[in-house]
């Protein structure tokens, strides 16, 4: 059951965005090209938003105009023309193919490597088949189950209509519109995303993944997610998928905000496999994401786990603001960069409350000509007495043309705290490869095994059903990088 849910999740995401081989008669109702105040109004109007949200968007737009794109990250790309982007297109109908023969063989090969059965491959690739089960009824069942617990899980555009007070209270409360250039842009033009609300005392009975958002619409390139966990709650949220995703939109600038009250725990897991471009990086996705969680309550906990294998450029720092006393922030990350990919990713742990704890485990893997940077900030504020941070930052290099960089920023404003930072850089040794080959593993199997061993501490944080595929994915991402 679980595997199938996951598959369907992928179907939604791949088939709605995958552009190759489809007959392109999508009747997309697009806003005119470019960005202006009118476009922001157009989006808000299309979504029938309340006035306060339109005003909030416009404020963000004005702020954005006054800001400059950040250039401190260790990534290199041509300047983005923001007037050459469509900011709104109506939800698309899913295109249907007649058989797998019409699907890009490269995509099929990857499905096969991921071990996805033929039937599910068809579903994934958007081939017209009889569904193994009625997906709508399954989703409805789950939605009923969630509703019984009082959990709200829906598109954020729907939440704006059905729970305006909650949205109004929390949107932008973690990441203000002025936070950074891309967050401001997202605030002005976001189209959709997820909204999750866990009422007091409820442990969410299942992993929430985007599939269960009924009436799901194309979230587009400016996705906005808001998760609120009230006192004494638990929720685990999964986003992304292992099957490769392509999108005609090159720029993706999502915003994710998490709020954890007293004794609440939010576990947020991501597997990101956007199209990385060709060997020279042409055509790949730019993934500029702002993710942050506020541990507002005492003993609250926010845990980010990410496996990043895709995108031409990744610019992403899922962070935790540890306000509540005894709150806990965790960041587990695997970032793979191959060929011409550039990744600048890491986290920020801001310790404000007393006895707050954070753990950062980052595993960066570079191959080909890729550049992989860990950038992390640990800040212990004056009142955060008794706080602790442990950071472990390991880099693995494959070949001699790639780079790994570690940029830690540590600011400690009280002597009554402990910060530890460990970093290692290693290469897959010839001895290790030969040992594996001598046992009959081919070079790709051997690389995948060694790399997955290197990432193990992070992989074990992923929910089971994600972990197995994520492991294979890492192997696939590194294909051809050794030997």
């Amino acid at each position: 059951m679980v595997a199938t849910q996951e598959t369907i999740d992928k179907v939604k995401e791949v088939s709605s965005t995958y552009k190759y081989g489809f007959v392109t008669d999508l009747e997309a109702e697009k806003a005119p090209l470019g960005l202006s105040e009118d476009i922001v109004k157009f989006i808000s109007h299309k979504k029938k938003e309340p006035k306060w949200l339109l005003e909030w968007r416009l404020k963000a737009y004005k702020k954005w105009l006054s800001m400059e794109a950040p250039n401190w990250a260790m990534v290199d790309f041509p300047e983005i023309n923001f007037q050459d982007i469509y900011y709104y297109s109506a939800p698309k109908t899913k295109p249907k193919l007649n058989s797998l023969d019409e699907v890009d063989p490269e995509l099929l090969r990857t499905y096969e490597k991921l071990g996805i059965p033929i039937k599910e491959q068809q579903v994934l690739a958007g081939v017209a088949v009889d569904y193994v089960f009625d997906s709508v009824s399954v989703a409805t069942t789950f939605r009923e189950k969630l509703a019984k617990e009082g959990i709200i899980f829906c598109p954020i555009s729907e939440a704006v209509q059905s729970h305006p007070d909650l949205v109004k209270k929390y949107i932008g409360s973690v990441i203000p519109i002025s936070d950074n250039y891309y967050a401001a842009l997202n605030s002005a033009v976001f189209t959709d995303g997820s909204f999750v609300y866990i009422p007091k005392g409820v442990k969410c009975p299942m992993e929430l993944s985007t599939y269960f958002r009924i009436n799901e619409q194309n979230s587009g390139q400016f996705e906005r997610t808001l998760i609120i966990a009230e006192d004494n709650t638990y929720v685990s949220y999964l986003e992304g998928c292992t099957a490769p995703q392509r999108d005609e939109n090159q720029l993706h600038a999502a915003v994710v905000e998490l709020v954890a009250m007293n004794n609440a725990e939010i576990k947020y897991s991501t597997v990101q496999n956007w199209y990385p471009g060709d060997k020279d990086g042409r055509g790949g996705i730019y993934n500029f994401v702002t993710k942050r969680g506020n541990c507002l309550g005492k003993k609250s906990k926010i845990s980010w786990t990410q496996v990043e294998t895709g995108s031409a450029i990744t610019w992403k720092y899922p962070s935790c603001v540890l306000k509540g006393d005894d709150s806990v922030g965790e960041f587990y990350s695997v970032a793979v960069a191959n060929n011409a990919q550039q990744a600048d990713t890491g986290t920020k742990m801001i310790h404000i409350g007393k006895n707050t704890k954070s753990t950062i485990i980052s595993k960066g893997i570079s191959a080909g000509k890729a550049q992989n940077t860990y950038r992390g900030q640990v800040q212990i504020q004056k009142n955060a007495k008794g706080s602790r941070n442990f950071t472990q930052c390991d880099s693995l290099l494959i070949g001699d043309k790639c780079g790994a960089h570690t940029v830690p920023y540590i600011n400690q404003f009280t002597p009554h705290a402990r910060v530890e930072h460990e970093a290692t850089t290693s290469k897959i040794s010839e001895d290790q490869l030969f040992y594996c080959l001598q046992r009959g593993l081919d070079t790709e199997q051997a690389t995948s095994l060694i790399v997955n061993g290197f990432c193990k501490e992070v992989m074990k944080e992923l929910p089971m059903e994600f972990a197995v595929e994520a492991q294979k994915l890492i192997g696939i991402s590194l294909e051809g990088s050794v030997g």
């Binding site: 030969f434 040992y435 594996c436 001598q438 009959g440 051997a446 095994l449 997955n452 061993g453 193990k456």
Partner: protein
Amino acid sequence: MPLLEIKKAKLKLDNKDILKGLSLSVSSGEVHAIMGPNGSGKSTLSYMLAGRDGYELESGEVFLQGQALSDMEADERARSGLFLAFQYPVELPGVGGMSFLREAVNSRRKFLGEGELDHLAFVKEARKVASKMFVKDDMLKRAVNVGFSGGEKKRFEILQMAMLKPKVSILDETDSGLDVDALKIVSDGVNAQRNDENAIVVITHYQRLLDYIVPDFVHILSDGRIIKSGGPELALEVEKNGYAGLINAA
């Protein structure tokens, strides 16, 4: 047809002649010991056979069950039934012993057309073999060779050999770093695998190991060549008189 046949193997490392026309024929059911002083080319021989990069023959040829090894990469040789027990087994951090073994065994099974073992069947088989080798389950859960003692590493090598059921096994200085008890366990493990279908080549500096794994043939390797061959008594001669006497006589 011999299981393993080395014909006039010549090999250079850094422009230096290491193997200078080495020939050896090993048939099924046989155990051969290759003894030699340091620097005689023992480890080079095992790397050459296993197909390590940089250890390609300059001339000569090696056949495994009649098939020329020069056409085969290291992993193909392994899947075809050539096993090397390493003198210094390599650590693979984070790679669980059980998953490593399973990938290796399934690669070999696939080659033999036997179909891959599912997880449960595999674990059952691995535990059975492990208990014979006095390898605790715990060791299979740990990362391959990471934090293993010298004895544990060698036992794990022989455990892999037992699981992979190779046609030809090369044991490279398997006795190094073992105390007497460990040596006995490892040797028992090797002896249990001797049969009419396979062959074992024991490469060693000392005669000691050959008290436990009794060879059918003993060869003395010196300066890249086999200078003398004989029965187990030849090993005792080495023990008594050292290599010098034999080398001078040759």
